[in-house]
């Protein structure tokens, strides 16, 4: 019997380490340590309901397990064979408990290819990985395929870069392989930087061997014997598990000299990034690894010609690599049968925002936004109204109700005014203010711009200043015009992908939520009630009984007594001095009579 406990960063933060410890201790107390194996796995994806504990072989999926629940699971489930019902997932629709994850709305429409091993294996144990087919693809490449055949297979599969741009991976490998020289590099871009995104982190934490294997395959295909992983130093667990995976692979002769007796040499080194978003751009990433300032340079020359240390280099994202081994073992045709016409396979998304099931999901390309939000995501939190979904992180755009039936692939998302990006997906409801959302993303881009080109360095700053004016109620219609022109020029002139896409949140919200901008500018209103400067707090003098609690709560001394006593009340009502009000809401929170409202 196996007990799988999620050891991803999210569940670890909710005491999953303690859960594992409790399992081990109590099982030992009961003398069951040899019967039941406790495995710390990577992320299961259903972070909303974490920590997750899964009992195998009967596939029981326990959610929101607390360390003190462990004893009960052992006594009831493991010893007596009875499922602990109150720890099972409760289907929000039919209110029934579901024990097998296959039958949960969250998992039903998912297809796990890149995440195939996440949640199934102990990522720190190479044997578990091998038992699920790990390194089979590398073996196949080295013994049965020529490098060109490997490149052809990847090309045929239709796999495209999962970092966001969607460049065909096989073609990229082919371009690099053409520049044969004695020193070439395979680089894994693990500089995941979109706010709220954790796809790559989860893969590295849950299945690090898939990356090690894929990089070796790539090395074989293009003729490189050096692998470099550029990884954020803020990902300690991913770093730790990659280090273990690399060490184990070396021990097993799957890295190093003469791998599997094929004469092929390949090894991997980790390089740490300091968390600059722009270093996800491949030329900036390479400069950062070289010890230079992390800023992009113009392409051409492409890294395939002159990359790390001016040597031909192939840069792929973590998720892209994670797809490679299974393409080799199951074949390009199998992979190409999944997904849409131009976008093959699946895509991992970090689903976040005002949605019931927050977590990590993987769906076939071509799945609609509606399916993701309502089926997998379980709809909007608190039964509120859907307003927008933001894909592609700070480089993407906000899509609306009318885009919900858009099939997710590189082309359709771009046509709708957003982009695939690396896989961030943030769902927003009516409590989100769109100009404020645009401002939020722009704050991020301004912070993360390297400052090399003028449109990004100064242009984004000016857009942010205009948006700040708008959210403060100081904007004009001319500002909206200027904002649109500026966004278009920045998109047209910025040096790298960061700058060229940074206006997307602004442009897409201007296109899809023009009325909301006009309301901020002309009516000085924020319908979502987010922009504080546009709100005013008022006391209904007829409802106010004059208890004075609001005045006591007010940190700004903005509330005082009036001369007016409403009919039926004994004390004079209170009034808010709007010039002093800081819009903190403390008065409303304290008023039991519903006399205070926000306008």
């Amino acid at each position: 019997m196996h007990v799988l406990v999620c050891g991803g960063t999210g569940c670890q933060a909710s005491a999953s380490a303690q859960i594992i410890e409790n399992f081990q201790r109590i099982l030992a107390e009961k003398g069951l340590q040899d019967e039941v194996q406790v495995v710390r796995t990577g992320c299961f994806g259903f972070c909303e309901k974490g920590p997750i504990v899964k009992i195998m072989p009967d596939n029981t999926f326990y959610t929101q397990v607390k360390p003190e629940d462990v004893e009960k699971i052992i006594n009831e489930h493991i010893i007596k064979g009875r499922k602990v019902t109150d720890l099972l997932y409760l289907d929000p629709e039919n209110k029934e408990h579901v024990s097998d994850s296959k039958h949960m709305g969250f998992y039903r429409k998912q297809l796990r290819i890149a995440l195939r091993n996440c949640g199934f294996i102990n990522p720190e144990n190479i044997d578990e990985c091998i038992s699920r087919g790990g390194y089979e693809a590398l073996g196949k490449c080295l013994t049965e395929m020529t490098p060109q055949q490997v490149i052809d297979e990847v090309t045929k599969s239709g796999l495209r870069g999962r970092g966001g741009a969607g460049f065909p991976t096989g073609v990229k490998w082919g371009l690099c392989a053409k520049n044969k020289c004695d020193e070439m590099y395979v680089i894994c871009n693990a500089d995941e930087g979109d706010p709220g995104a954790f796809m790559d982190r989860s893969i590295m934490e849950g299945d690090p061997h898939s990356i090690v294997e894929a990089m070796a395959i790539c090395g074989y295909a293009i003729g490189a014997s050096h692998g470099l992983v550029y990884i954020r130093a803020e990902y300690p667990l991913a770093i730790h598990r990659l280090q273990i995976a690399i060490a184990q692979a070396r021990e097993y002769g799957l890295l190093g000299d003469d791998i599997l007796g094929s004469g092929f040499n390949f090894d991997i080194e980790l390089r740490y990034g300091a968390g600059a978003f722009v270093c996800g751009e491949e030329t900036a990433l390479i400069h950062s690894m070289e010890g230079k300032r992390g800023e992009p340079t113009l392409k051409p020359p492409f890294p395939a010609v002159s990359g790390y240390m001016a040597k031909p280099s192939n840069v792929n994202n973590v998720e892209t690599f994670a797809n490679v081994p299974i393409i080799i073992t199951k074949g390009a045709d199998w992979f190409a049968s999944i997904g849409s016409e131009k976008s093959k396979g699946t895509k991992v998304f970090a689903l976040a925002g005002q949605i019931n099931n927050v977590g990590l999901i993987e769906v076939p390309m071509g799945t609609t936004l509606r399916d993701i939000i309502y089926e997998i995501g379980g709809g909007i939190k608190g039964g509120r109204q859907f307003k927008a979904v933001q894909t592609g992180g700070p480089s993407g755009g906000c899509l609306t109700e009318k885009h919900l039936d858009t099939a997710i692939d590189y082309e359709s998302l771009a046509a709708a005014g957003s982009m695939m990006g690396s896989g961030g997906m943030v769902v927003m409801d009516e409590t989100s203010c769109m100009p404020a959302i645009a401002k939020f993303y722009l704050e991020f881009t301004c912070e993360e711009s390297c400052g090399k080109c003028s449109p990004c360095r100064i242009g984004n700053k000016r857009m942010l200043e205009i948006l700040t004016k708008i959210t403060r109620g100081e904007g004009t219609m001319d500002d909206l015009q200027e904002l649109r022109n500026l966004a278009a020029v920045i998109k047209d002139t910025a040096l790298c992908g960061l700058g060229q896409t940074s206006p997307n949140p602004v442009l897409s919200t201007l296109d899809n939520f023009w009325d909301e901008y006009v309301e901020h500018v002309v009516d000085k209103k924020c319908r979502a009630g987010v922009c504080k400067k546009l709100m005013s707090y008022e006391i209904d003098k007829e409802k106010c009984i004059g208890c004075g609690k609001c005045a006591k709560n007010c940190p700004g001394d903005a509330i005082s007594k009036t001369d007016y006593i409403a009919p039926g009340h004994k004390l004079p009502s209170m009034v808010i001095d709007s010039t002093k009000c800081i819009k903190c809401g403390a008065c409303i929170a304290g008023c039991k009579f519903g006399a205070i409202s926000v306008k």
């Binding site: 600059a276 722009v278 300032r293 800023e295 340079t297 113009l298 051409p300 301004c446 912070e447 993360e448 711009s449 390297c450 400052g451 090399k452 080109c453 003028s454 449109p455 360095r457 100064i458 242009g459 984004n460 700053k461 000016r462 200043e465 200027e482 022109n485 500026l486 020029v489 998109k491 047209d492 002139t493 910025a494 040096l495 060229q500």
Partner: protein, 595 residues
């Protein structure tokens, strides 16, 4: 050759030609800002950062229009490409980009040192910008002033020319981009002051800065105050390279020789005596040449302790550079002071005594093509009792400004001679202004002293040229002497490293910090990337030499006289006291305070 169409003009260009260069070949102007080329010096700056030169590629390599605008400076032409350099889309983008740059730039053109020479100002005029639509925060940085250079980074446009110059052409490594986003700016590491950085004050960053972010320290007010003070005797000396460049500031073609007019103008400004640094250059040859021959003689006699090659020490940027980067070789360079510092020492001792002027009442001003000279004059070893040998250094540009303030036009000036005795010089001295000149001058004298025979030919053309590193064997009547020459500090570094590693042996090496030598100095009129200008100035230097009646330093009558009257012999006791110096280890690492 590939075919491209730019603004409906079909042209053929070699493969690897950028759109910008192709357009220039076709006579089409594409405005630029960060782009900078100094063709003769193999220096090209094209970070693609400013985005002013963007153009519309209506037909790209795949036959389709390019999605976004392309930077013309850094995009190569491809077969069949069609480009529009001034479409409505381009003009709107270009204008917006320049408006953005202006929105983060102080608009203090009235008092800016660069006004009239500012590339951003010209660009704003070219684009007809009358209003800056974007109002917002402006960058503010601490002003930094070294003895040579003023850094006002509020004006920096992040063109990165200075950084490229400092790191790649000069390998000094004082400047680089720091911070990110709107706060990104070029600065020394940890935002240190320049004086605390490895900066050697060569000022080439100032020479290439398109705006007023990097400028020279202005000493014109101090000089005018001294001239206005009746108690002071104010004398001036003019460096070789100034006389072939000053004319440019008055609309004369590059390479015009204005020695006589400059002398006349300096008298009109109120200087009491107008002398020539060239006199001191002849003196330098006597000292440095003697030192060189001494070392060679000792070496040939089997003295293993002697350090060869001897390195020239006239260039203060170069002196700073080896103090920072080659502290293990401080005993290799010649101990001879630079001509300017020799002039100061002679003026404030020999001449002041002779004239009966008290040291503190004598003000010595130098007109230099150089910014490092401003720093050199402030080195403490060149002070005596708190009084410097050289009081103020003005650049060629500063002198031009003063002349204009006096409502004088150099073109209308008569040609006048320098005053005696510190004004008499030879052709050997004037060539100090160009790369290879110092060593040629030294060779002319050393040959005759060493062999005791007159030179068979006076022009050592094998030592001239524009290659960054050159070497030549000179036959000293049977003794072959190996001479190396480098200009631009990256070349100097390469040559010195070869020597340090023992890969190559030389008897003497001449180094000048600035590309082209002093003619390309940072205090010269801005060349704006036109290396033809530097070439013309160099040619003028050699023309001036050829026209001189005396062309060997040791034949200068005033030099002979000063040794008879005062110094005795070259490298003698008195000259060691006044004409030689020593060097300091400045390699210490950057220290960052704990807090």
């Amino acid at each position: 050759m590939i075919n491209v169409t730019i603004d409906n003009k079909q042209i053929q260009v070699p493969e690897g030609t950028t759109i910008l260069k192709a357009a220039r070949m076709a006579g089409i102007h594409i405005p630029t800002l960060c782009y900078f080329e100094l063709a003769g010096m193999k220096f090209e700056n094209k970070p693609g950062g400013c985005r002013v030169c963007v153009v519309e590629v209506v037909k790209d390599f795949n036959g389709r229009p390019r999605r976004n605008l392309a930077p013309a400076c850094a995009t190569d032409c491809v077969e069949g490409m069609e480009v529009l350099t001034h479409s409505a889309r381009v003009i709107n983008a270009r204008r917006t980009v320049v408006e953005l740059i202006l929105s983060d730039h102080p608009t203090d053109c009235l008092t800016c040192a660069k006004s009239g020479n500012c590339e951003l100002q010209s660009l704003a005029q070219y684009l007809g910008i009358r209003d800056i639509p974007f109002k917002g925060e402006q960058s503010h940085y601490r002003q930094d002033m070294s003895p040579s250079i003023v850094r006002d980074m509020d004006k920096c446009v992040m063109c990165r020319r200075c950084e490229n110059m400092c790191n790649n052409v000069q390998t000094v490594g004082a400047l680089s981009a720091i911070n990110r986003g709107f706060s990104a700016v070029v600065a020394p590491a940890f935002e240190q002051d320049l004086v605390d950085s490895p900066c050697v004050m060569c000022g080439q960053c100032v020479q290439v800065c398109p705006v007023g972010a990097l400028t020279e320290v202005d000493d014109t007010r101090n000089v005018m105050a001294a001239i206005n003070n009746p108690k002071k005797t104010v004398i001036v000396n003019t460096a070789p390279a100034t006389r072939v460049a000053l004319g440019e500031e008055f609309g004369m073609p590059a390479g015009t020789i204005v020695t006589g007019q400059m002398t006349a103008a300096l008298r009109r400004l109120g200087f009491d005596y107008v002398f020539d640094t060239d006199f001191a250059a002849d003196l330098t040859i006597m000292e440095e040449g003697t030192e060189l021959l001494g070392r060679i003689k000792r070496y040939m006699e089997g003295d293993k302790s002697v350090r060869l090659p001897i390195l020239t020490s006239c260039c203060p940027g170069w002196v700073n550079f080896f103090e920072h980067n080659f502290p293990d070789m401080l005993d290799v360079p010649s101990t001879a002071k630079s001509p300017m510092q020799m002039f100061g020492a002679v003026a404030k001792n020999y001449w002041a005594e002779k004239m009966g002027i008290k040291r503190e009442d004598l003000v010595v001003v130098s007109i230099m093509p150089c910014l490092a000279k401003k720093y050199e004059s402030k080195r403490k070893e060149f002070y005596k009792d708190g009084n410097p040998d050289i009081d103020y250094v003005l650049t060629t540009r500063e002198l031009a400004r003063l002349i204009k303030q006096f409502n004088l036009n150099l073109k209308d000036m008569p040609s006048e001679d320098y005053d005696d005795p510190l004004g008499e010089s030879t052709g050997a001295a004037v060539i100090f202004g160009a790369t290879g000149g110092v060593i040629e001058a030294a060779t002319r004298t050393a040959y005759e002293v060493f062999t005791g025979k007159p030179l068979p030919k006076i022009d050592f053309t094998e030592l001239r040229g524009i290659e960054g590193i050159r070497d030549a064997w000179v036959d000293f009547d049977g003794t072959p002497i190996h001479i190396g020459i480098a200009h631009g500090l990256s070349n100097a570094r390469k040559l010195l490293e070869r020597v340090r590693e023992g890969k190559e042996q030389f008897h003497a090496i001449e180094v000048m910090a600035c590309p082209g030598g002093c003619v390309g100095g940072a205090g010269q009129p801005y060349h704006h990337g036109n290396s033809e200008i530097i070439k013309k100035r160099t040619e003028a230097i050699y023309r001036e030499d050829a026209g001189k009646p005396i062309r060997k330093s040791h034949e200068n009558p005033s030099i002979k006289k000063i040794y008879e009257e005062y110094f005795g012999e070259p490298c003698g006791h008195k000259s060691h006291e006044l004409l030689h110096t020593h060097y300091f280890d400045k390699s210490e690492h950057v220290e960052i305070s704990e807090d």
